[in-house]
C-alpha cells in the first residue's frame, strides 16, 4: 500500500494499527464501527503472530484486552457508545493497573440505544472518566482520514510510553467516510521498546503481580497521587490543537472531529465575506488544550462552541476561558450533521450579536454566569 489510497476511516484505523505493531484485537460488533473488527479479522487471519477474537460481549472484550496487555502485546478494542459504556469498569481497572491499551469509540446518537448516526454525546464519558475512581484517558480526536492514520500510530506509542489507556474518539461519519490516506512504514514488533513489567512467567526472576487492589489506604492514596502526577505530566506534554485563522479573529468557533471540519467550512465561507472568524480545534480532548485557549481568550471577544451534542466540551472551554470572553454554544445532537452553511449563519449572527440562533439549540454564558437562549 504505497502512496495515497482511498479508504474508509475504520479501515484506515485498522491498517494503521497493524502498522503500529498492534497484534491483538478483541471486540464485539456494533454499528457504526463493524468494518474495523472486520478489517482486523481479515488482516490478522493472514498473520501468524496476531490474535483476533470476537468476544461474547464488550465486557469480555475489554477484559481480554487487559489480559493481552498484561502479556505485553500492543492491543486494541473498538466499539460505539453503548458498548463503550459496558467497558467502563474494565477501563478503570486498566488505568489503575497502568496498562497500555488503545480503545476506539466511534460515537453514535444516544443516550440509550439511540441511533447509528454520527454524534458527539460521549465527550464527558471519554474525558472525565466514565468509570469509577480518579483516572484519565488520553483522548485523541481525529477529523480527517490522514489524521486517523497518524493518531492511531500515536495512540499505541503514547499508551506504551505512559502505560495508560488511550482512546481514539471518532463518530459514525469519521468511520464510514473514505478519504485519501498515506500510511507510515510498518513498525517491526521486535523493534518496539521492551516491557520489563509484563507477566510472562517468573523464569529466572522473582514472580510479579499486576493488581489494582490496595486495601491499605496509604498505598491506595499513593497510587492515586502517582496517577495524578502522571496525568499532570501528560497535560503538560501532550495538549494539542489546530488553529485556523485565529490571529486576527474577533470570534472563534471551537469544535472537534467531524463538527470541526464542518465548522471550518463555515469559517471559510465567512472569511470570504470579510468576517474576522477563526477555528480552534482540540486534537487532544484530554488533555484539553486549555492553556492555548486561555491565551486566545485574552484578545478575542467571543467563542462559539459547536458540538454534535447538547453541550459537553463547552464546559472545558469555559474552564479555560474563565469568563475572559463570552462563550456561547451551538449544538446538533442525535446524529444530525449540520452543514457548513448552517454554521456560517450561526457564527455570523453571533458575530453580529444576534440574540438567538435558528435551528439546532444554543446557549450562551456571559462572564457573569449562565443564561439559556432556549433550544430547538
Amino acid at each position: 500500500m504505497a502512496g495515497k489510497v482511498l479508504m474508509r476511516g475504520t479501515h484506515v484505523l485498522g491498517e494503521a494499527a497493524v502498522r503500529a505493531g498492534c497484534r491483538a484485537y478483541f471486540g464485539y460488533p456494533i454499528t457504526p464501527q463493524n468494518e474495523l473488527p472486520e478489517y482486523m479479522a481479515a488482516a490478522f487471519a493472514k498473520m501468524d503472530d496476531a490474535v483476533f477474537v470476537q468476544a461474547e460481549s464488550e465486557v469480555a472484550s475489554i477484559n481480554m484486552v487487559m489480559g493481552a496487555s498484561i502479556a505485553g502485546a500492543r492491543v486494541m478494542t473498538s466499539s460505539s457508545s453503548p458498548g463503550i459504556s459496558l467497558k467502563q469498569e474494565g477501563i478503570s481497572y486498566i488505568a489503575a493497573m497502568e496498562l497500555p491499551a488503545v480503545i476506539v469509540n466511534m460515537m453514535r446518537g444516544g443516550p440509550g440505544l439511540g441511533n447509528i448516526a454520527p454524534a458527539q454525546g460521549d465527550y464527558f464519558q471519554a474525558t472525565k472518566g466514565g468509570g469509577h475512581g480518579d483516572y484519565r484517558l488520553i483522548v485523541l480526536a481525529p477529523a480527517y482520514g490522514q489524521e486517523i492514520a497518524d493518531m492511531t500510530r500515536q495512540a499505541f506509542d503514547l499508551a506504551d510510553h505512559y502505560r495508560t489507556p488511550v482512546m481514539i474518539l471518532g463518530d459514525g461519519m469519521m468511520g464510514q467516510m473514505m478519504e485519501p490516506v498515506e500510511f507510515p512504514e510498518p513498525l517491526a514488533v521486535k523493534s518496539l521498546p521492551r516491557k520489563d513489567w509484563i507477566l510472562d512467567g517468573a523464569k529466572g526472576r522473582p514472580s510479579r503481580v499486576i493488581r489494582s487492589l490496595w486495601l491499605d489506604t496509604a498505598l491506595e492514596e499513593e497510587l492515586n497521587w502517582r496517577l495524578a502526577r502522571k496525568y499532570e505530566m501528560i497535560s503538560r506534554e501532550l495538549a494539542d490543537q489546530e488553529m485556523y485563522l485565529v490571529d486576527d479573529a474577533e470570534l472563534i468557533v471551537v469544535a472537534y472531529g467531524t463538527a470541526a471540519r464542518i465548522a471550518k467550512g463555515g469559517v471559510h465561507r465567512l472569511r470570504e465575506t470579510g468576517l474576522k472568524v477563526g477555528l480552534f480545534r482540540p486534537k487532544t480532548l484530554w488533555p484539553f488544550p486549555s492553556a492555548r485557549l486561555a491565551t486566545l481568550s485574552r484578545h478575542i471577544d467571543q467563542m462559539v462552541v459547536f458540538e454534535m451534542s447538547t453541550g459537553q466540551m463547552v464546559e472545558d472551554v469555559r474552564l479555560a476561558v474563565e469568563g475572559r470572553c463570552e462563550v456561547s454554544f451551538y449544538g446538533r445532537p442525535g446524529g444530525v450533521v449540520a452543514t457548513p452553511e448552517e454554521i456560517a449563519r450561526v457564527l455570523s449572527s453571533a458575530y453580529h450579536r444576534k440574540a438567538s440562533f435558528e435551528g439546532g439549540g444554543s446557549r450562551s454564558w456571559q462572564a457573569q454566569g449562565y443564561t439559556n437562549l432556549g433550544s430547538a
Binding site: 482511498l6 454499528t31 457504526p32 464510514q176 467516510m177 478519504e179 471540519r261 471559510h268 452543514t339 457548513p340
Partner: protein
C-alpha cells in the same frame, strides 16, 4: 471548484462502485475527495447510495444536503432525491427503469438508457460504468483518462478482460452523451 454527486439505486446495480471509481479518479488527479456510503439500517431493503465530493479545497462535509448532481438508477431513487437537487443542478436518470421526470423546472434532466446500452455491449452488469461515463462527460471534473485508470485501481487483481469491459462502458456512456447532443 468543488462539486457533490449522489449516486443511488438498488443494491446490485453497482452504485457504490460508480462513486468509488470517481473518487479514486479525483484522488489520482490530486484533488480533495470524500466518499460517503449510506450504512447500517438505511441499507436494509436493498437500496444503496453514496455521496462523492470532489474539490480543489479541503472538504468540510462529505454529506450533500443539496447536491449539484444526482444519479438515479431506479424509480424510488428519483423520488427520494428529486427535491434535494440544487437549483441549476442536474439529475441523471436511468431511462430504462424510470419513466416520468422530477416535477421541477429549475434543474436539468439527462436520460440515459443504461440497461439497454449495457445489453447492447453484451454485458448487463456494465450499466453502472456506462452511466458514470455519461455523467462525467457532462460534468467533467475529472479526465476520462483518470477514470479509466481508476477502474484499473479499483478492479486491481481482477481479470484484465473485466477491466477492459468497464473501461469500454465508460467510453460508451460518454459517446452516448456526445452523440445525443
Amino acid at each position: 471548484m468543488s462539486l457533490k454527486i449522489v449516486f443511488s439505486g438498488f443494491g446490485g446495480q453497482g452504485v457504490l462502485m460508480m462513486g468509488y471509481v470517481l473518487a479514486v479518479a479525483g484522488m489520482n488527479e490530486d484533488k480533495h475527495v470524500t466518499f460517503l456510503p449510506a450504512y447500517g439500517a438505511e441499507v436494509r431493503g436493498g437500496t444503496a447510495n453514496c455521496t462523492v465530493v470532489v474539490s480543489d479545497e479541503e472538504i468540510a462535509s462529505p454529506i450533500a444536503s443539496s447536491p449539484e448532481f444526482v444519479v438515479a438508477m431506479n424509480h424510488p431513487s428519483m423520488i427520494k432525491y428529486q427535491n434535494m437537487v440544487k437549483t441549476g443542478g442536474t439529475m441523471f436518470l436511468n431511462s430504462d427503469l424510470i419513466s416520468g421526470a422530477p416535477p421541477r423546472e429549475d434543474i436539468k434532466v439527462v436520460r440515459v438508457p443504461a440497461n439497454s446500452l449495457a445489453h447492447e455491449m453484451g454485458n448487463d452488469r456494465a450499466l453502472n460504468m456506462i452511466m458514470l461515463g455519461a455523467v462525467m462527460s457532462t460534468v467533467g471534473i475529472v479526465s476520462e483518462k483518470a477514470l479509466a485508470q481508476a477502474v484499473e485501481t479499483v478492479l486491481e487483481g481482477k481479470k484484465k478482460s473485466l477491466v477492459e469491459i468497464n473501461q469500454k462502458a465508460l467510453a460508451k456512456g460518454s459517446q452516448y452523451i456526445s452523440s445525443s447532443r
